[in-house]
């Protein structure tokens, strides 16, 4: 039981980081994209491949994950420089579908539909991490560092500028701010964090396959951000916690196994609708 709970906490940590990375785009900068699983997945695959091929382990993999996540994000940022609003939603969907296709079909690199197995577990100064408690300690430490740095960054003038772009792109532009460069920067930052969380995911599950990084995964993360509250780091964390915990709680209900999956999903959907009606700014975002 203890192992089970710790395992869930590790998963929450990973997804909270991913939700935070999406919140940078959606919540802070108002760039509505549904492609986070593409960056998360690229990071996971990059990390898996590097650690499997080179023996550099988790840390080498994480660096690769960050780099590839950032690179993919900078590609994904290109549509946002040309179009906004509804076009950006669709363009980001396009990015998501194309990358899912790459994961699925680049057999030689990604292992195709079967995925990659046997990804090494992390080690720290010769101490190998393999129990959920050790994972939680390591991942939580990483997450805390990132959240601390991000909160500093978002409280700075850079963070204010992001919010200014969200409210009205023209105003910061009129003040001589380079909005174009800002958008690329925030995409790269978001992609780097998503890539890192992907790497953490790969080395925790020790197995990656395309279905973990499909459109539904991107929607799931978006739901976390929305349920928790956009534009608040704590909101993203809370949203991740709720949406990961919820299906686990339902596991204890006396339901036939066959209908378990759909019932969970139905409840997930109903919660999304309820949040939209009752707390449209998310649980932390306050009443509108």
């Amino acid at each position: 039981m203890e192992v089970y709970i710790l395992g869930i906490l590790v998963t929450i940590t990973i997804f909270a980081l991913m939700a935070i990375s999406l919140d940078l785009l959606v919540g802070y900068t108002g760039l509505f994209t549904i492609a986070q699983a593409a960056m998360f997945g690229s990071g996971a695959y990059a990390s898996a491949i590097v650690s499997l091929e080179t023996g550099l382990g988790f840390w080498g993999g994480a660096v690769a994950g960050i780099a590839v996540g950032a690179a993919v994000a900078s590609l994904a940022s290109i549509p946002s420089l040309r179009v906004s609003g509804d076009y950006l939603v669709l363009a980001s969907f396009g990015v998501q579908v194309v990358f899912h296709g790459l994961f699925l079909n680049l057999d030689g690199v990604t292992g195709g539909p079967a995925g990659l197995r046997g990804i090494p577990r992390p080690s720290l100064f010769g101490w190998s991490i393999d129990s959920p408690a050790e994972y939680l300690a390591l991942y939580l430490a990483i997450a805390v560092v990132i959240v601390a740095v991000l909160r500093r960054l978002l409280a700075s003038s850079f963070g204010l500028l992001l919010q200014a772009v969200r409210e009205d792109e023209l105003v910061p532009q009129a003040l001589g701010k380079d909005v174009l460069r800002l958008k690329i920067k925030i995409f790269v930052l978001s992609g780097a964090i998503a890539g890192l969380s992907g790497s953490m995911y790969a080395h925790y599950i020790t197995f990656v396959s395309p279905e973990s990084f499909d459109v539904h995964a991107s929607i799931f993360v978006l739901a976390m951000v929305l349920v928790g509250g956009m534009g608040t780091t704590w909101g993203a964390i809370l949203g991740a916690a709720i949406l990961i915990l919820l299906p686990e709680v339902l596991r204890f209900l006396p339901l036939p196994t066959m209908s378990m999956g759909p019932i969970r999903q139905i409840i997930y959907g109903l919660i999304l609708i309820m949040v939209c009606f009752l707390r449209p700014r998310g649980l932390i975002g306050g009443r509108s």
């Binding site: 040309r82 179009v83 939603v89 396009g94 194309v98 296709g101 999903q265 939209c276 449209p280 509108s288």
Partner: protein, 294 residues
């Protein structure tokens, strides 16, 4: 050369279904500007409605189609009245509406899964004898589908451009405020948009199912994304452009088999979509663009 024609025939057939997806998405999106993801759910509903009426209740196919159309238009109108309008009236952000729609999509998709099970089901359709025309296999449905799609597109074109109601509909796309000032209820037009857009879905579902694919709960997201893609390629605000773009997507997707294995089809289509959005955001037949202001 035979392969080319075979792929072209397949492409036109799939394109006909895509054209209907596009038409359906565009009819709803153009006047309401709602990202109606739940349409994927309505599409799944359409498939299972056809199955229930045709197989469980043993009604003839045409009767099942009529009943399914009635059911989906009611469901579409229900989405507008019970979900989108209350949300929009509360003044929530655009994104919250999208999220609610995704939520409803998940609920419908999984309810169908819960009731009918995850595996594919087939309708009572007479087996078709394919024709063999100089080495190219043609199923009757592959001829019927484009004709049906063209007929529906033509009918809608007539409605949009030759009737008063169509004029009001087009006005609701470009200038809803002016319409409202003239005493015409925009919310009523939106309701019709949802009803008519949803009514097209059972037809698309039946055309696709007749080609041999079954009814399963997972087809929704592809349908709605393809519809959205067709609309953006055709040009937002142009439902007829969406129909044309649907055909183009179907043909390109199938002809791409010449260059790359079938597994890449979807990636290629979305790749092309990305290129079009970047190079010509107006789409093929559209006008207004919502540009990033940098």
């Amino acid at each position: 050369m035979e392969l080319f024609f075979q792929l072209l025939i397949n492409g036109v057939y799939v394109g006909a279904v895509y054209a209907l997806y596009g038409l359906s998405f565009a009819l709803i999106f153009a006047p309401t500007k709602v990202w109606h993801f739940a349409q994927g759910g309505i599409y799944v509903l359409a498939g299972y409605a056809l199955y229930s009426f045709n197989v469980i209740l043993a009604l003839p196919l045409w009767a099942a189609l009529v009943l399914a159309i009635a059911l989906t238009s009611a469901a579409g109108a229900g989405c507008e009245r019970l979900l989108y309008r209350p949300l929009v009236n509360r003044g929530v952000s655009h994104m919250v509406v999208v999220m609610a729609s995704l939520g409803l999509f998940v609920v419908i998709e999984n309810s169908m899964d819960l009731v009918f099970g995850p595996s594919g089901l087939s309708l009572r359709i007479d087996p078709q004898t394919p024709w063999l025309v100089s080495g190219v296999v043609i199923m009757p449905i592959q001829i019927i589908a484009p004709m049906v799609a063209l007929a529906i597109t033509g009918l809608l074109a007539l409605m949009l451009y030759r009737t008063m109601a169509g004029r009001e509909f087009r006005a609701a796309i470009t200038n809803p405020e002016l319409l409202e000032i003239n005493g015409i209820s925009v919310s009523r037009i939106k309701l019709y948009a949802f009803a008519i857009g949803s009514a097209i879905l059972p037809v698309a579902a039946l055309l696709l199912i007749s080609g041999g694919s079954g009814v399963s709960p997972t087809v929704g997201i592809t349908a709605v994304l393809t519809g959205a893609m067709a609309m953006f390629l055709g040009g937002v605000d142009s439902p007829l452009g969406a129909a044309v773009a649907g055909f183009i997507i179907g043909i390109v997707e199938n002809l791409s088999v010449f260059v790359l294995p079938t597994a890449w089809q979807v990636s290629i289509t979305y790749g092309i979509l990305l290129l079009v959005i970047m190079i010509r955001p107006t789409g093929l037949f559209g006008r207004a663009v919502q540009k990033a202001t940098v």
